[in-house]
Symmetry: C2
Subunit: 331 residues, 2 copies
């Protein structure tokens, strides 16, 4: 996922929680110190190779917006959600045989699949370890487990739908919810819970996270069709090539005059570069791009609407800025 | 691991907890029902392809030996420890490219590596989900996380020591503790905790589990040298072939007149079947087999000695029978 352009942009949006995000880096490094020296080494590599820390940032923002915020108490869970994200990326890279991520070598490329699978497992477990005996409520562990299970089930659902043309909006949205939006949603909700917010505020934060997550993923999927490699950091048409059928493509499969040709390409497991280029051309010429933009905007509007009234001041600004940033993206 | 010959033998030893073990099967099936139909299908496959349920059996035995035992309360954690074992086997099979386990196709062979990695992650998370909001103490989640982390770190340590000849008893025992014994140890301890035993009794149960676990793994490693394929269900010399240097081999590397030849074989990543057979021959002719037997017996003696006095009646019988069974194995 190439959500939110650069680390700097993310930092600007989340400047209100800059001290907490700084503390998070230290907590992550400490969390990955292990009796097996290799795990510590890989952990340091993973923390240093960066990432936008979007999930813990949303969590910390939600938590800090609450009256009961206690930075020290909130921090282990911030690390836990980032560790879960990190572990899932390590396993994704094993599955995809990816060689680099964010310009650095992947764990599987550097240390082999065996070590990468085991390190991913270790990091998942570390996430659960972070939230033990820290005075969190029992719901916290439950939410973290649900989060991991949603991620896995979402990827398995996506995998079973690869290279097929029978998709609709509902199926697509269920898939991206499980893959991305539910994660951001739970981060926002957990922030509210740890900050001691009312159930209504927690529900509102959760709804905000879900809506922004949906918009994020639709945007990401759109960039795969409209972006160029230089800007999005991966070759355009990557999803199409991997058989992942996204919203603009689904729409084009319904409305394009060239839909039969497009169907032939996206269901072809042996597609060539030329076929990918032609598929992009068909989708760009269709109303698929516009339809996806409209849908992303609807979600951003929803995000602004459901953001609880009780979230005020700088937290509100940051939440709205995050939504606006997505809306302004030049795609 | 080919610990404890057959399911029937395990059932005989654990007959006192037969109703709980039966209930466990149902709980495991329910635990693996998922919104992704494929996960439910794989879960059912995994539960049906069996296993001796040694870890939950030790846990349930320890729990039932306590006055505060409540079968309903104890069950989710019994399922959780078996789920962790199951998930780690699913990932092991991906790593080893194993095609069958216990006579059934592995998840990776049947559904591919991607689905197998993700399903393993899902099952790990399900283990943590099982123990949320069930009224367990906070230590329980912490122990489960430590257990997974120990397993992973142990395997990574083992991986980094493959095809090397510089081993000693201490390094070997640390490795098998992390890989096997600590897991059984935590199961016994958790049983005591959930049964409401005193800290002393919990510590004794933990020590029993550790000792029996060490004996189990040494026995398993010994069978790799002394057993034949028909009896142990895998080709003899499997560890040697995979570069895993076990206690009888470590001893032979110290004392055998053919130790230089043996060193040449076990450090050779391209070893042939003939070399494996020759290595087995050298180890069998050395005092490595006897040394490993002595060490396993020491641990079994320790297991009997540290079993808390407060554990009486049928529970005590079952614990002692489990230890005796290992001791009587015809290796």
């Amino acid at each position: 996922m190439q959500i939110m352009g650069t680390f700097q942009e993310a930092k600007d949006i989340f400047h209100w929680i800059a001290p907490e995000l700084e503390h998070l880096e230290k907590t992550l490094c400490e969390a990955l110190a292990s009796p097996a020296p290799l795990i510590s080494e890989i952990g340091t590599h993973l923390v240093r190779s960066g990432g936008k820390r979007l999930r813990p940032a949303l969590y910390l923002l939600a938590a800090k917006s609450c009256e009961g915020f206690d930075a020290k108490k909130a921090m282990p869970l911030a690390a836990a959600v980032e560790l879960i994200h990190m572990a899932s990326l390590v396993h994704d890279d094993v599955i995809d045989h990816a060689q680099t991520r964010r310009g650095a070598a992947t764990a599987n490329a550097k240390w082999g699949n065996q070590v990468a699978v085991l390190t991913g497992d270790y990091i998942f477990a570390q996430a659960f370890s972070m939230v033990s005996r820290k005075g969190y409520t029992e719901e916290v562990g439950e939410r973290l487990a649900a989060l991991v299970q949603g991620l896995c089930a979402g990827e398995i659902l996506q995998d079973s739908a690869l290279y097929t043309a029978a998709h609709d909006l509902e199926e697509y949205e269920q898939r991206i919810a499980m893959k991305t939006a539910d994660f951001l949603s739970i981060c926002c909700e957990l922030g509210g819970m740890v900050g001691g917010a009312s159930p209504e505020t927690c529900a509102g934060l959760k709804a905000y996270g879900k809506a922004i997550g949906m918009a994020f993923q639709i945007t990401d999927d759109l960039l795969d069709v409209t972006g160029d490699e230089g800007r999005i950091g991966k070759p355009a048409g990557n999803d199409i090539r991997q058989g992942v059928v996204t919203l603009p493509v689904i729409r084009a499969l319904e409305t394009s005059p060239d839909r039969d040709e497009l169907r032939g390409i996206v269901t072809n497991r042996e597609m060539t570069d030329e076929m990918v280029a032609r598929a992009i051309e068909i989708v760009r010429a269709s109303d698929g791009v516009a339809a996806a933009r409209v849908r992303a905007d609807e979600y951003l509007e929803e995000a602004r609407r459901v953001l609880p009234e009780t979230v005020g001041g700088e937290a509100r600004e940051a939440f709205l800025e995050a939504a606006a940033y997505i809306g302004q993206r030049d795609f």
